[in-house]
């Protein structure tokens, strides 16, 4: 072998190790086990998209019709699959269009990694074309964000982003990558991140906090468990059930906790919050020990914090230290992961039962049934009600579907009347209350859990905020089922206008397009029903359709969601009608 060929071979080896920053982004994602990305291209992220062209066998990129659609889809994907949702967008408007979804993921603790393109680093700060300070804008709504300005920073930044997004209390991470960093070459190698010295996502649970909690629980006469999404996020469904069954304590869910514990369990007493059930709300102010697990005492749960569970000793099991004593002063704080905490706590508590106390909840159920539920699900009027649709859907699907909802009356009806019987079956925009969430999130959920029957329940208002994502369903044939509950109103706002603003229906009535024709124009089958007697048949053909299908139900225009704890008032003052 002469020297010149030797040189050539050496050079070739070097060349294969050197890759562009853009390709490095994709290699990092593959290393993290990512096979699905939601995104939308543009100038500043074109190098990454160019590399993506060659990665079609490894990465399934799903093109949304708006960046907000991409990120909500990534959120739905993450929440349905338990994996990290990944989202691409270009600089400027592409990145700013992600912000609503990032804020939503932040407040609902959803693990996301968002990668945005940015203008070349020499242009930063110069008001260059499509330059926007995404790092600055996203700072308050990301768990972590970081700007990459040279190719060699890419692997470490992405590794950290994944670690931070999914560990501890999950949340969105954003990496902003300048165009030059995508184009430059680097000597690629990847190590997954398992540690950041300034970040300690799993506090060690203090033994004495567990003992103090057990002591309170063992002595309690009227103990009450409230669980939130922390249970789902830590995969502690089984541990929660064990604690409930051993102690015989009645348990209620928050909005985001729904489906972490079967609604069919005899110790499940309902759901709490503004439009939650009667018993779970009023009993909060009667129990002697309140055990809050993986929830954050949101104001929609507590109402007036000064009267909330004021008589009770409060035990709070929570991973995020900043949530402890934030809204409600607690007596015992167990700062740590729900799964671990529940396992340890269950060891320390006595086998018990509280039949008389549980019966008090059932008594409340009977009152709520009489005063509220009956009228809602079995209405006298000719028009179908939302409550009725959800109730019948729940029976029809045996509580086994994965329900994704938008924001408004239909969302509250879904959370009240769908009887969840499987974990990880409820995805909604809870903390931020983002209209437009449902359609893209349901698409993402179906992609993240293809084996599940995914049903998106949405109002006519919210549907029109992101309906362009029907294009995504069409292009990728996503077998999601959409249910529009059409009341031709921004229903929830109208309800507040009726109850608190003297029926002054200021800009809440809507003239809608023909949703059926609209959907069909995307080649998606669609049907409409307005007649009660045809509802069941409509379910049959809608859910029986192979692939995607949309059902529009024309519902009562001025239905109200009850019970209701008026905003900021005491939970005992819940209105039943």
């Amino acid at each position: 072998m002469n020297t010149s060929t030797l040189e050539l071979e050496e050079k070739e080896v070097n060349e294969t190790e050197m890759i562009t920053g853009a390709e490095a982004v994709l290699k990092c994602l593959v290393e993290e086990g990512i096979d699905t990305i939601f995104g939308y291209p543009g100038g500043a992220i074109m190098p990454v998209y160019d590399s993506l062209y060659g990665y079609a066998d490894k990465i399934n990129h799903i093109l949304s019709r708006h960046e907000q659609g991409a990120i909500h889809a990534a959120q739905g994907y993450a929440r349905a699959s338990g994996r990290v949702g990944v989202c691409f967008a270009t600089s400027g408007p592409g990145a700013t269009n992600l912000i609503t979804g990032i804020a939503d993921a932040m407040i609902d603790s959803t693990p996301l990694v968002c990668i945005t393109g940015q203008v070349a680093s020499h242009l930063l700060g110069s008001d260059a074309f499509q330059e926007t300070d995404v790092i600055g804008i996203s700072m308050p709504v990301t768990k972590w964000n970081f700007q990459v300005t040279s190719a060699e920073e890419i692997p470490k930044a992405i590794a950290q982003a994944f670690y931070i997004a999914k560990s501890g209390r999950p949340g969105p991470a954003l990496i902003d990558i300048t165009k030059n960093a995508q184009q430059e070459e680097l000597d690629f190698s990847y190590t997954r991140c398992h540690r950041v010295r300034s970040y300690h996502p799993y506090p060690e649970i203090k033994e004495e906090s567990l003992r103090a909690a057990a002591k309170l629980i063992n002595k309690a006469k009227k103990p009450y468990i409230l669980f939130g999404q922390g249970v789902t996020l830590s995969g502690a469904e089984e541990e929660l059930k064990n604690l409930i069954e051993k102690t015989g304590i009645p348990a209620a869910s928050t909005l985001l906790g729904l489906s972490a514990f079967s609604t069919k369990h005899p110790l499940y007493v309902g759901y709490t919050g503004m439009h939650g059930n009667y018993g779970p709300n009023v009993k909060t102010n009667e129990c002697d020990v309140l055990i809050a697990i993986g929830m954050r005492f949101d104001d929609r749960v507590t109402g007036d914090v000064n009267t909330y569970a004021a008589q009770a000793k409060v035990i709070h099991i929570e991973l995020d230290l900043a949530e402890i004593n934030k809204n409600i002063k607690v007596d015992v704080a167990i700062n740590g992961d729900a799964k671990q905490a529940l396992q340890a706590l269950t060891q320390l508590v006595n086998q018990n039962s509280h039949e008389g106390w549980v019966e008090e909840f059932h008594e409340c159920d009977r009152i709520e049934m009489e005063k509220t539920i009956k009228k809602s699900i079995d209405p006298e009027g000719a028009q179908i009600t939302m409550a009725e649709v959800v109730h019948k859907l729940s029976v029809f699907t045996k509580g086994k579907s994965l329900i994704v909802t938008d924001v408004g009356q239909h969302q509250m009806m879904a959370s009240r009347y769908y009887k969840f019987d499987e974990p990880k079956s409820h995805i909604t925009s809870g903390g931020l209350g983002t209209m437009g969430f449902c359609l893209p999130a349901a698409i993402g959920a179906k992609i993240g859990a293809p084996e599940r029957q995914v049903i998106g329940i949405v109002g006519d208002g919210g549907f029109q905020m992101t309906l362009q994502e029907l294009g995504l369903i069409m292009q990728y044939n996503v077998g999601v089922k959409i249910l529009i509950l059409n009341n031709e109103f921004l229903g929830m706002v109208r309800q507040w206008q009726q109850l608190f603003f003297d029926r002054r229906y200021s800009f809440t009535e809507m003239q809608n397009p023909d949703f059926i024709k609209l959907t069909e124009s995307y080649n998606i089958p669609a049907l409409q029903v307005s007649d009660r007697s045809k509802l069941e048949d409509a379910f049959k053909s809608w859910l029986g359709t192979e692939g995607p299908c949309l059902l529009e139900v024309i519902v009562e225009k001025e239905e109200n969601v009850f019970p209701m704890v008026p905003s900021g008032s005491c939970v005992s003052k819940i209105r039943l009608e």
Binding site: M139, P140, V196, S198, Y202, D320, N325
Partner: protein, 185 residues
């Protein structure tokens, strides 16, 4: 509940953007930051932020915990006055004529433990280190003498604890959970 003056001390990774990540937490709650100082520490790559704020005891705890949630924050702690050693520095500028024509100025400088930091052809700069109250007293004393300019630094403070920053960082690097309470250190 009554507000008190607290000194907040934050140890962070020395990274751009962190000042913003920290002040956002105060802005969201509409808390006015009375003083702020950013400094290096004896540990390479670690910065210390020192802030002074007036808050209730409950508010300060919430803020400290929210600051700890920032990924690059190594530790955040709060102190009352008797738990720290602290100082501020103030500079006072006079024209050379004012300075020369008023003999009382020299007297004031001596009595207040200040010193002349720089003397130029046309102006003089006086420096005084002390508590805010002390530097303010001197400011008041100087007021009648056509003071040209005045500036005061943010507070810098060290806690009275015997812990070393280096040992704390080492603890963080070796443990999986940050067990230090927000009052320790």
């Amino acid at each position: 509940m009554k507000q008190k003056e607290y000194t907040i001390s934050i140890l962070t990774e020395d990274k751009p953007g962190l000042l913003n990540k920290i002040t956002i937490i105060f802005n969201r709650r509409k808390i006015n930051i009375a003083s702020l100082n950013v400094s290096t520490t004896e540990v390479a790559g670690v910065s210390r932020y020192t802030l002074v704020v007036s808050l209730t005891p409950e508010e300060v705890e919430k803020i400290i915990k929210q600051i700890r949630r920032v990924v690059e924050v190594l530790g955040s702690f709060y102190y009352e006055e008797d738990e720290i050693y602290y100082r501020e520095i103030a500079l006072y500028k006079f024209s050379i004529d004012t300075y020369k024509n008023n003999n009382e100025l020299e007297q004031l400088i001596r009595n207040h433990g200040a010193k002349v930091m720089a003397t130029e052809e046309d102006q003089v700069v006086i420096e005084k280190t002390g508590t805010k109250q002390e530097t303010h007293e001197l400011y008041n004393a100087f007021q009648p003498f056509d003071l040209m300019e005045f500036v005061r630094s943010g507070r810098i403070a060290l806690s009275k604890s015997k812990r070393r920053t280096e040992a704390f960082i080492h603890e963080l690097e070796t443990s999986t959970s940050n067990t230090l309470s927000i009052k320790e250190f």
